[in-house]
Symmetry: C2
Subunit: 363 residues, 2 copies
């Protein structure tokens, strides 16, 4: 009955970072789509919007006022998910009671920030200059450094800084103004701690870093590489879940964004610009995604530094066009994540796309 | 600084079924929402739609024709994610190579089915009679029995039957016609296998079933109970992620849907009717969700039966109104799932809602 064909036959691939599986059903992309359509992107947005909470000089939702900032701008989230001060949570009752056995709970303190990427309301990462993107990386670095310092000098409950961006309404972004967020917690969040656990396990078994080996292997295979520069490799991971998911991974051991030297910092800015330009060019739209930076905890111990390896994950939902996304729902939530094209197919499409000229330049 | 208040202070709760955490930030529900609005539900839908692939007597997407069915109707998915026959996947290369170490892959065979709940295009579970819902449970039972038999008698690659429903466009449903799906795989999917692992671990440590203890505890506490009947408890789990997530859990050990006796079968139908009526009444809309049944594998071994306990998970996305949903995006995907109200707050609202009379009856 012929040979197994990865572009046609269903298979599962294992994600060694999170110890999970994804079901790949590449033939399923052929089915018609009659479900929800995402709102098409409207290109005629003004550079300044007087009703925007993030534009320079404007009032914010809870009363503050933004300065007339000219580059990036960091402020504390007006609706922070975690706060620096709250009463401590005391353990109650019998340690062996059913309740203490089944209901584990921890207090979580921390702080949340918004990072405006630009004063211009109508740009996005791919539409900004490389110099401006270097400033965005600089803002992330500054936050990482400041919070590390506050943790030590002011005993603030800051252990892990999760930097992320939700871009586009499809990914729950509630304001078009180009911005990301950073939530700083007194604990390492689950996804990150799952990765650290895997890195430790891999190192104990193989005496090398999982991501070092992974980068080496992807650079040999080349079929999932989107592009690379001196410092970073951009791949569709072998175990990608989201249709055009990518990982921007340091080629050598760089524990966190503040360990980047000037050239490496420019390489990160450049990787971000090329990747997001390719994304926009894929379906000729402002491509939605959630992305985030995984790196060392703040003020990392020697052990923590040892298993930290800077990388970014991009999770974009679009599957077929500017308006048709992948839904990770019933089977995915109850059974196992499922995708409709192979990682190699996604990588090939992204690789071939222009990463220099944004599609709107030709309009 | 006062006492710790679960309705105001941020905390994490542990989910012992999937070995994961959720960040609860109850004060965050106050922030304004300027993001995506879900399409409001349109009530004037015809009982029969000539363009629907699922209505009785109509042509299907790939050429077949539906019979003029009068109750439930099961057929093989025209775009199945897994198939019964495909070439086997041979292991290649050196077992210790980097590739075999980092890229684990398995072939997956199986079959996928669609279950139409009713011939009427414009009903949903809460709008169907209890007798009709008993027939839906009967259709699930029949599928479970038939596939178990085919696995044994025809050596079909069927090990686990994941029954689920994606309801509403917000949860990726592409056809309004009331229907669910069932994907049958030759392996136990990750989410289910994660639960089985937890059940085994708990039993080894405590010599009881995790869900037996959990039901007992929830029935003592009552604060997360939505309602119950003789056979099932409906709760917002202590560790709920989705705003109005619920679990319909058997009160005593019932391994799978075919082990329900007639009275228990009616109790399941009744629980489904009451829960989905409450859901619709919450925001006076046709409430979207993904739901699925977790139960014993097909033809379970003694060990497999031993850790199986019938329960259903409902994952509904709506947070504040018929048009404003929760997005599990940046922080949730990269860091840790986060919710904006406590499980107790959600349960109280659901508990107080009418579960008998659907809001449309008063229109
Ligand atoms: O099979 P459907 O209804 O076309 O598709 C829906 O459910 C599937 C199973 O959860 C998902 O993989 C799809 O992304 C979703 O759109
Ligand atoms: O903080 P925002 O942008 O208002 O909110 C968005 O990002 C958060 C962090 O991923 C999510 O919890 C929210 O559901 C989402 O809408």
């Amino acid at each position: 009955t012929g040979a197994f064909d990865f572009t046609d036959h269903s298979h599962r691939r294992y994600n060694p970072l999170t110890d999970s599986w994804v079901l790949v059903s590449p033939h399923r992309a052929k089915r018609p789509w009659l479900g929800q359509q995402e709102a098409p992107f409207k290109p005629d947005i003004p550079e300044y919007d007087e009703k925007c909470f993030l534009c320079p000089g404007n009032d914010r939702a809870t009363g503050g006022k933004n300065p007339k900032y000219e580059s990036t701008y960091i402020f504390q989230n007006d609706y922070a998910a975690v706060k620096t001060d709250q009463p401590s949570l005391k353990e109650t009752g019998d340690k062996d009671s059913l309740k203490n056995r089944l209901f584990k709970v921890q207090s979580v303190r921390g702080n949340c920030f918004v990072i405006c990427f630009s004063p211009k309301h109508n740009v996005t990462l791919p539409l900004m200059s490389k110099d401006d993107l270097v400033k965005v990386v600089g803002a992330w670095q500054k936050l990482y450094t400041d919070l590390s310092k506050q943790a030590i000098e002011e005993h603030k409950p800051f252990k892990y800084l999760q930097i992320f961006e939700n871009k586009g309404t499809a990914m729950g972004c509630s304001n078009l103004h180009p911005h990301g967020q950073a939530w700083c917690l007194e604990t390492v969040p689950s996804e990150v701690s799952r990765e650290f656990k895997s890195f430790d396990k891999y190192k104990a078994a193989n005496h090398t870093d999982l991501l070092a080996d992974y980068v080496e292997l992807e650079m040999q295979e080349k079929t999932r590489t989107v592009f690379e520069n001196d410092t970073f490799l951009v791949v569709v991971p072998y175990w990608a879940v989201w249709p055009f998911e990518t990982m921007v991974v340091a080629k050598t051991k760089i524990p966190n964004i503040t360990s980047l030297n000037e050239a490496q910092k420019r390489d990160l800015a450049s990787a971000l610009k090329i990747l997001t330009t390719k994304y926009d060019n894929l379906f000729e739209t402002s491509f939605p995604y959630s992305m985030g930076i995984h790196q060392a905890p703040l003020n990392a111990t020697k052990e923590e530094l040892d298993h930290s390896w800077l990388h970014l994950h991009f999770y974009p939902p679009l599957l077929r066009s500017a308006t048709v996304r992948k839904f990770l729902v019933g089977f995915e939530l109850l059974g196992e994540p499922q995708r409709d094209l192979t990682a190699e197919q996604a990588a090939e499409r992204l690789r071939k796309l222009d990463g220099e000229i944004h599609y709107t330049a030709n309009l």
